[in-house]
Amino acid sequence: MNWIPWLLAGWLFFVGIYGVISSRNYVHLVGCLAVVQSSTYVLLLSVGYRQGAGPPIFFHIPPGRAVDPVVQALVLTDIVVGATISALLLALALQVHKVKGTLDPDQLRPLRR
């Protein structure tokens, strides 16, 4: 029961990498990359959790025992930037589709020369 967060982070990470490796469509690959990114968010937030503590917002309560704000700051910007990176990868996939007509990684080999 205590290992569930770390197991989940590992599961998401390896399932995402398996998806990237065995993908037959570049758009599907970008989605699997998003899953890999989300595994790091889960890991960071689970490290910063405090049993029985509230969020680090002290608007109505005096400053005291709360969850770690540092990891939350890391993850917050990471999520938005991760979406932009996914957009960049999707633009690349679109270009590949325009030039080659296919999105299959196995059919898109680099040039031999």
């Binding site: 065995s22 002290f58 608007f59 400053p63 005291g64 770690d68 704000p69 540092v70 910007t77």
Partner: protein
């Protein structure tokens, strides 16, 4: 590398990594009882030092403001890259007519859809602006609110169509606004150096804890981030949606000639 070779390599790597992972999990502290000295220090001292009540914002824009500046630049770089890729190969021959997929008719917009989009777009815009302006007090900030504002503008496309939406969103002002947002952040870093303080040090008056105007430089930085993120996502939406447009038909006179 062929597919089965990739999968074989993955299986071998998993066999090696899994024991290390299990060993690592056995040594980690219990869930919910990790030692968090940095977090505790900020939780106890942040309200007094910076006069803000949202510790995540204080860490994001003040204590670790340089990291957020790096993330902001990453966002700009990714947006510029995507926009360059899409514009570079598109050319000038796209019209505003929707592209047709083989065998699928273009669906009409229902009146209810148009009405709801027209009603909700200003409300969501207001909500997004609300989220942008008060990160020092309650959860929110430029990153979240910026994406909400970009989505609110997108509701006009959903309700009214491509042409009215493009008439509202011109690429050039949005690009300039995004650059201005990032520049605000960088200038807020250099301005304290003018008066002798460190880069991104909070030199503005901090105000009263709990008031809307508090936190000093955090407000300015947050405004810059909100503008940059909103315009960056709007630009991405514009470029991606422009890809779905059809090519322009050649003129009838040319076709007959």
């Amino acid at each position: 590398m062929r597919r089965y070779r990739r999968l074989a390599l993955f299986a071998i790597a998993m066999l090696g990594i899994l024991p290390c992972m299990i060993g690592l999990f056995a040594h980690m502290p219990r869930f919910g009882e990790h030692p968090l000295p940095y977090g505790d220090a900020i939780n106890l001292n942040g309200v007094r030092q910076r006069h803000v009540t949202n510790m995540v914002t204080a860490v994001n824009f003040d204590y670790r403001g340089v990291d957020t500046l790096g993330e902001e630049i990453m966002l700009i770089a990714a947006t510029v890259g995507a926009v360059m890729l899409l514009r570079g190969s598109r050319g000038e021959e796209l019209s505003a007519r929707p592209g047709r997929a083989p065998g699928r008719p273009i669906a009409w917009r229902s009146t209810g859809q148009v009405l709801i989009a027209r009603l909700m777009a200003p409300l969501i815009l207001l909500f997004g602006l609300n989220i942008i302006i008060h990160p020092q007090l309650t959860p929110g900030g430029g990153f979240q609110g910026g994406v909400i504002v970009a989505s609110a503008a997108l509701l006009i496309w959903l309700g009214d169509g491509y042409r009215p939406w493009r008439r509202l969103m011109r690429s050039r002002p949005i690009e300039v606004a995004e650059a201005i947002g990032a520049a605000i952040y960088a200038l807020c870093g250099f301005a304290p150096m003018v008066v002798g303080a460190a880069f991104l040090q909070n030199v503005l008056p901090l105000g009263k804890t709990g008031a809307l105007i508090s936190g000093g430089l955090i407000l300015l930085i947050n405004a810059g981030v909100g503008i940059a993120v909103a315009c960056g996502f709007a630009l991405l939406f514009i470029e991606f949606l422009q890809e779905t447009r059809a090519e322009e038909e050649p003129d009838p006179e040319e076709r007959e000639a």
